[in-house]
């Protein structure tokens, strides 16, 4: 199901939006020119179909899954998969491995081994081995030649960075091709490109991505960005239970288990959606150290504790209630 709407704004020109489901999440595109909405939507849908065919770990025919047959051997891959893996390695390297793309086997072991919509909400107890999983340095990528070597036994999960990287890529491509302002949101990883509307792109940050017309049930705030990206990571979504223990999708590479963080939600604004996503995901993993780390990097951020208390740093504005 998809929706298309014209968004009335009281202090600026109207914006035009379309939303639908793809790649296991909610997709939303907003443009400044109504005449370009259909074309923009079609371009984004094409990009996501290519992304899914390259990076999905839930499709047996995806390039990512096909890599398993060639484990340990240099394998020719598409530029899209090469770009997505490079984005994932950027995340690992800039966070000292806190955002790690080699957690595929760990997340499968915990029960998230299929499209999340079909993951059973409850299940029996699990037997897991706690192990440090910083194996990302063993990935060999020659991006220019599109050659990738993944060690035997390693399973990649690009979910932490691929959506944000794709949002950046599509927003830039669509804005350039259609000469209008564009916002692309892939499950709340948001990239903007082209000329921003007057007043900027107004975005509500909240625990779980939803319809902007529907108020958030938890703490939220509205901010505007004019370029770059915004991402939110949270332990409040994609949760399930095994043996009475609550699981979520943000794993700590030091243990291979769901991160036990003081933060339930972290939003970061950065020069790109990818860097915003890397920072917000790492912040969940880093816990107490996150605020100081983000401040030192000058990345505006909003951090919400498990009990709902909000901390803003590095220029993130005071909140305006939605």
């Amino acid at each position: 199901m998809s929706t298309t709407s014209t968004l009335r704004r009281t202090k600026s020109a109207r914006l035009h939006a379309s939303a639908w489901g793809a790649i296991g999440t909610t997709v939303r595109i907003v443009v400044t020119d109504a005449a370009q909405l259909d074309s923009a939507r079609a371009m984004l849908a094409d990009d996501l179909a290519i992304l899914d065919a390259a990076c999905s770990r839930f499709r047996s025919d995806s390039e990512l899954m096909q890599l398993r047959a060639n484990a340990g051997q240099p394998t020719k891959i598409s530029p899209v998969l090469a770009g997505a893996i490079r984005a994932a390695l950027r995340g690992a390297q800039l966070t000292d491995g806190d955002v790690d793309p080699t957690l595929g086997r760990a997340i499968e072991t915990l029960g998230y081994d299929r499209d999340f919509a079909t993951v059973p909400a409850h299940g029996g107890a699990l037997r897991v081995t706690i192990r440090h999983i910083p194996r990302w340095r063993q990935i060999e990528l020659d991006e220019a030649a599109c050659l990738l070597t993944v060690p035997v036994g390693m399973r990649l999960d690009l979910g932490a960075t691929a959506k944000a990287w794709a949002a950046d890529r599509s927003a830039e491509r669509i804005a350039e091709a259609l000469s209008c302002g564009v916002l692309v949101s892939l499950g709340g990883d948001i990239a903007v490109a082209g000329e921003a509307p007057r007043g900027g792109w107004s975005i509500r940050v909240q625990d779980v991505t939803g319809d902007p017309h529907t108020p958030s049930s938890g703490p939220s705030g509205i901010i505007a960005i004019i370029r770059g990206g915004l991402a939110t990571s949270s332990t409040t979504a994609r949760r399930w239970q095994r043996g009475g223990d609550i699981m979520h999708h943000i794993l700590d590479p030091r243990t291979g288990l769901p991160a036990d963080s003081i933060w339930r939600t972290v939003s970061v604004a950065a020069g790109s959606a990818l860097d915003a996503n890397i920072a917000s995901t790492a912040a969940i993993i880093r816990g107490h150290r996150a605020a100081g780390w983000l401040a030192k990097l000058g990345l505006p951020a909003r951090l919400v504790t498990v009990d709902g208390s909000v901390t803003t740093i590095a220029g993130w504005p005071a909140e305006v209630s939605s």
Binding site: A17, T26, L126, I223, T232
Partner: protein, 99 residues
């Protein structure tokens, strides 16, 4: 500068954290056992197998590292900051949260 992926202290820290988790979960399992529920059963690899699993040998990497340590190192490229967000009183056109 890139540090070794798994120093001995890192591994020990991870094991300690694992042990702490096990202690907590063991208590939980005991309580849960009274009502017939089972918590996650955890096992730790032996130091030898942990070393193997951690793969301390770094493969020769054709991926050229353009980035620096993302921890507390001040030098080199880092996550890129952009124009800070501004307060907005306009209706939101999108939301950012987990999905």
């Amino acid at each position: 500068m890139i540090t070794a992926p798994t120093s001995g202290s890192d591994r020990q820290g991870a094991r300690n954290k694992g042990l702490a988790r096990i202690s907590a979960l063991t208590l939980g399992a005991g309580a849960a056992g009274l009502v017939g529920a089972a918590a996650i059963a955890l096992t730790l690899p032996s130091p030898t197998s942990a070393t193997n699993a951690n793969g301390t040998t770094v493969a020769s990497n054709t991926f050229t590292n353009p980035f620096t340590n993302g921890g507390d190192d001040d030098s080199g490229p880092r996550l890129q900051s952009g124009t800070p967000p501004a307060p907005s009183f306009l209706p939101p056109v999108a939301t950012s949260g987990a999905s």
